[in-house]
Every structure is written in C-alpha cells, then in structure tokens.
Symmetry: C2
Subunit: 272 residues, 2 copies
C-alpha cells in the first residue's frame, strides 16, 4: 500500500529520504476537471522511472490517486484546468545512503492552479549560463535531484519564457522545464533520452505523433549553430503543462514561427 | 529567523523545495556530549555552501542550534558520542524551479546514534560501478542532491566498508560517504574540490594538519593505477563521523596500512 501525503495532513517526515537525498521522482500532470492529460503516459513514465530507481510502486495505486485528486479538486477547479503534482519518495529508513530492504515509499500529492499560457506568436527564450550535467545511469529520469534547474532558473529576468541549457560542450539539451523539438527543412531534431536530464512525457507524445504522421526524427544533441541555420523552420518548447510553445526569438536571433507541431500533435485528445 | 523543524514536530511541508528539488544542503556532525567535533569547520562550510546556493542563513543561528541540540540530547546520550544532522532547505514557495524573492529557509535537525567504527588494521573497499558526475558550478557542495550516492550504495554487499566512485574517465574521486587521501612516498594526493561531488570537512581538516606539519599535497584526481603502484604508502577514507580509516584492501589488491594520517591529524582536538 502506498502511503499518501496530502497538503492538509501532517507533512513529510523530517527523515524522509526524499528530503535527505532527493531520493525519489515526480510527475507534473495537467488536469481538466477530473481528467488528466496524457494520463497513461504519465503513469507509464512514473512506473518505469521508479523501476530504474528501485522504488516499489503499483501503477494502479498511482492511477487511483489521480482519480481521487480529480474528485477532491472539483470544488476548487470545477471543469477547469489545474495542475496535479505527484512526488514519490523512497520513504524513511536505511543506513545513510543505503536504503532499507523493505522500502515504504511516500506519495506526496499537491495541486496548483494552471499557469497562464503564453499568447500565440511564440515566446522569447535565452541561453542559460549554467551547465547541465547528466549522469548516464540517471538520464531522462524526472528525479527529485533538480538543483541544476533551480540554479539555472536564477537567470530569469522576466523577459524570457524559458532558459535553454547546454552540456559542458555547449550542445543544447533542454530548457529548465521543457524539452526541445526542432523543425528543420525535411526532418525534426530532438536530443535523445540518454543525453537529457528530464525526458518529458510531452516530448514523448509529440515524437509519437510525428512518427505516426510519417515524419523523420533525428535524435541528436543540438549544436547552437543549427538554430541560426537557414534550414530551420521552427523551435518548440514542450512540456505537459504548457503543451507546445514556439520560440520566436532565442537570445538575439529571431526564429521562424509556425504551428506545424501543434497541428500534428494535440495532447488534449489524451484526456481520461 | 530560521524556521527550525525537529523530529518531534509537524514534519516538513509537502511543498518544501528541499523535498521537491533537493533544494538545500546538509551537515553531518559528530557530537560528544554537548560538544561538536570540527564545529567551526562545519559552520563555515555550511555558511559558504548556503551562500553558493543563495540560501540566506546566519552562522550564529546554526551555532545556536548545535548548542541547543547538544543540550536536548544529554538525556539520551550523556557524554557519549552521537551524530547531529542539520538539513537546510530553501523553504517553500517560488514558481516551479524559480525561487521566491524572499526565502524562508527551513532547518531540519535530527540526531542518531554513533555508528560502530571499524577496528584498527584497515578496512576493505571496492570500486563502485556507478559513475559520479559533478557539475562544476556545484562541485564540493554537500547539497541534498545525493541520488548518485544512493544508487551507488546499492552495490554494498556487506563485505566492504566503502565503495569508491569514479568519473566518466575512470579517475577516482571519492567514496559514497568519504573523501580519499592517498599517502605516496614523499607526498600526499587528494582530488581537488572542483572535481568532487562532496568536499568534506574532515578532508579539509586533514589537509590543514598535513600542511601545518610541512607535508606536500598534490591535488589531482586519482588514476586507479596509482593505488597499485610501488610508491603507495596508504589509502585513507575520511569523513566527520568515522574520522580517518585506512584501507587494507581495495578490490582484489592488498594495500599497505599505516597510521600516518591519524598521527598527524586528530579531529577530537577540535571539540567545542
């Protein structure tokens, strides 16, 4: 059984490993009324990532919590949009970094209002100066170890919607809270999961839609020069909450903006 | 004022950034009765690291909490040894990874019994298969982002005292919970702070003692071959709780053991 912690309860134990070591993972899910956007994708990803971290969890327990939260939040949000966050920690116990033989994970469930979405026409983004390091054994996992994203986020001035982070070689990987999908003449480009700190559910769904529509996808890290090349047709930032957002300016360079990805991929179709 | 959370209280908020992102840092302090070993070093390091992370904290508040914990734990530990852990988080609030303009950090204070120390004669260590990645901007900071150490710790079989972690190039950096100091013929070698995930207080104190005694220290990452070379005089694992522990076998290789470092460096002299 999953130990569920809700905001009206007693909070998280002072010795929970999620606090102590960031020993856990999370999902941020867009909700509309009682339903979740990309529900199956979020459940699949959480179970897979928990498996990679060795945290025992049942998909059905998570699914039940999404449903319960849906019911609980009707009085607050009605049929409107809101955001559900599920944080799964390894729970208490163990000796130092070593975890206990029998883990009792905690699921922390919180909700928040839907943020304002940017107007159409594209957003401004900038390059972060904070390098992103990715442990190959933890690549793509939306773990609670997010200090790099916190530190990069210091650079927000209020002008830009997102800061794009690069690895030590200057290759672009992802935004602080979004993944990157690039439309080139003839193909789409996105960094592969093994290069990413977080491989988002929206990224995955967008790639599925593109492949289903017969598009070619090149999975590679993104050299900055690609984004000022004449073959560029558009740069998209994607995550589960904002969906798909086009970038109209990156740093000092204006980029072409089209709605190609939104035409091919509509996550609201996945509500359940 | 620092908001202090103790184990007998209400726990940590479900939305504390320490839980959400590992947005914080910690100190693990060896106590003897009411006094702390390496007290000033721990306070200095915590203040410096909090500064690097932009978390506001007053040294005097932390010092007061060490004293308070010392008094609180007398009924449990008397004059004996125990371990005090201070976890400082950035507190609640902010928008996603972006932190609030006015931070209200939380200090989580917990205690635990002193672990058993290994017998003299040295311990067995093994090489971890889990790579250690270090963000150059976060090097050395004992932040709450410790998932790599958690995952490496899966490899403990019960035979070894510590697992030694390497970077992607196979250069040895540190143990899961200790730093490495190597005694060679004529000099001492230890990886530099900028290469480390955690630059421990005991490491720093040991280096100070060595320098004060006129020894030469080479700060470099450690090629595994160094530890099977004929110039090796000893390999030490150090942290604030265990102090200095010599390694008598690393993997399948027997190492020379001497008490050279313990002779030069006695952290119990720093009790206050």
């Amino acid at each position: 059984m999953l130990n569920v912690i809700r905001p009206d309860g007693n909070g998280v134990s002072a010795t929970d490993r999620g606090v102590a070591y960031g020993d856990g993972l999370f999902e941020t899910i867009r909700m509309r009324g009682r339903q979740a956007v990309l529900r199956s994708h979020h459940l699949d990803r959480m179970v897979a990532d928990a498996g990679r971290l060795g945290i025992p969890v049942e998909r059905s327990d998570l699914d039940a919590e999404i449903s319960r939260s849906g019911r609980d939040m009707v009085s607050e949000y009605g049929d409107g949009d809101w955001v559900l966050k599920l944080v799964l920690t390894r729970g208490d116990g163990g000796r130092g970094y070593r975890w206990p033989v029998e883990c009792e994970p905690n699921l922390i469930v919180t909700s928040s209002p839907m943020p304002m979405l940017p107007p159409s026409g594209g957003v401004v983004a900038a390059f972060s100066q904070f390098p992103l390091t990715v442990n190959p054994r933890l690549a793509g996992i939306k773990s609670l170890n997010r200090l790099e994203q916190v530190m990069a986020s210091r650079e927000f001035t209020g002008e830009e919607f997102e800061l794009i982070m690069a690895n030590a070689d200057g290759q672009l990987l992802e935004g602080t809270r979004t993944n990157l999908i690039v439309r080139m003449e003839g193909e789409w480009v996105t960094p592969p999961v093994e290069s990413l700190a977080v491989a988002g559910v929206m990224r995955q769904y967008a790639l599925e839609c593109l492949r289903a529509a017969g598009h070619t996808i090149q999975e590679q890290v993104i050299p900055p020069a690609l984004l000022s090349s004449c073959g560029l047709r558009g740069l998209y930032l994607v995550n589960s909450v904002v969906g798909i957002v086009a970038v109209r300016r990156l740093g000092s360079v204006d980029l072409p903006v089209d709605d190609g990805l939104e035409t091919i991929c509509d996550p609201l179709k996945t509500l359940e």
